[in-house]
Subunit: 214 residues, 2 copies
């Protein structure tokens, strides 16, 4: 597959395409034009064609896109077919919500184990995921291929835990702590889930709406 | 203040600027150049100047940016000084994590009340937020100015709840349900927190890293 340097914006749109294609597949739709796909997503057809062109040719002139095929190709670009593994650190409310309600498997990830410092949690299984003590983590990382670490510890523990992870060779962190873990030039890949960024964007859109109604 | 049509990308970067400026303020730094700010955020200085130019002139040639002033201006653009109010629907793990750990106040929001269908939760207070029964919601919305609704109900309840909210005049939803609530052309403002989008972006970056190491 042709692979060019892909802009961050395109990468961020791919999961949205994937969700829409899953929806179409479920609805039994096998073929869609870029115009129709654009309408359903609120994108222009030319934006869609441009996005997909980054990865090679997905569509056929006059035919449109083959929904299941396009879905598989996007899934593959996103690495969903690579059998990635994850461990979760911190089984508080957020960690628990992820274990109970977030289907890692659906996105190609196998959640191997969870770790926590709370003796009341250690040794238990939640939604089929075993909770081990934090002390067991370095050995676990040594003995298992762990592609990403899901970090859901309290704010205060965020930086020391991230340091410990990096010392133990972790190179990708899915960060729910609302703390900036690394400098921008760090070799560790950190994907932040900043709830506040999302709320503030909403706050902006609401303000813009109110202002336009004045 | 000059106000132009601002691109979605700029809007999405503003909360990051805000976080960085808060950090600088806390560290006692009152002035910063676009070069330095760019280095700390991983942006180019010209991108930073361009972003801020969308809203008018924030910096002074040869002086840089006044950190507390710039912080206040960005906060104001984001609507943080407008006294917005929110209610939470669904006090499961995610809802509970938001009530307990997410500081709405810090971002200019007042979380007025929570609503749930579970009789075991109704009537209780969690982290100072009262949980009312879902039946009480329509009256609450009628009698109070509610700017946004935080939707953290289970997947199956997402669409019917969103419909009910819209019927009751709600026009902004912060959506944690992982369900697409409205068509792209809907008048309701929906800000989605899609964990899967974030995980898949991380999955892409990890794949890209692995491929480059081959």
């Amino acid at each position: 597959m042709k692979k060019e340097k892909i802009s961050n914006n395109v990468i961020r749109r791919l999961p949205r395409y994937l969700r829409k294609l899953d929806e179409l597949k479920t609805a039994g739709i096998n073929r869609i034009s870029s115009t129709e796909l654009g309408q359903q997503l609120g994108f222009t057809p030319s934006q869609i064609r441009q996005d997909f062109n980054c990865f090679g040719e997905f569509g056929q002139q006059g035919y449109g896109y083959n929904v299941p095929l396009l879905r598989e190709q996007i899934a593959s670009i996103l690495g969903m077919d690579r059998g990635y593994t994850a461990v979760l650190i911190g089984v508080g409310h957020i960690g628990r919500a992820l274990v109970d309600n977030f289907c890692f498997q659906e996105w190609g990830f196998n959640l191997l184990q969870a770790f926590d410092v709370d003796p009341g949690l250690v040794g238990k299984d939640v939604s089929g995921v075993h909770i081990s003590p934090m002390e067991a983590l370095p050995d676990f990382l040594k003995n298992n291929k762990v592609d990403i670490v899901v970090l859901a510890v309290p704010r205060d523990a965020a930086l020391p835990t991230a340091e410990m992870l990096i010392d133990n060779g972790v190179n990708a962190i899915w960060n729910f702590t609302n703390v900036e873990l690394v400098e921008p030039d760090s070799k560790v890949i950190v994907e932040n889930v900043h709830f506040s960024d999302s709320l503030l964007a909403l706050s902006y859109f609401v303000s813009d709406r109110y202002d336009s109604q004045k």
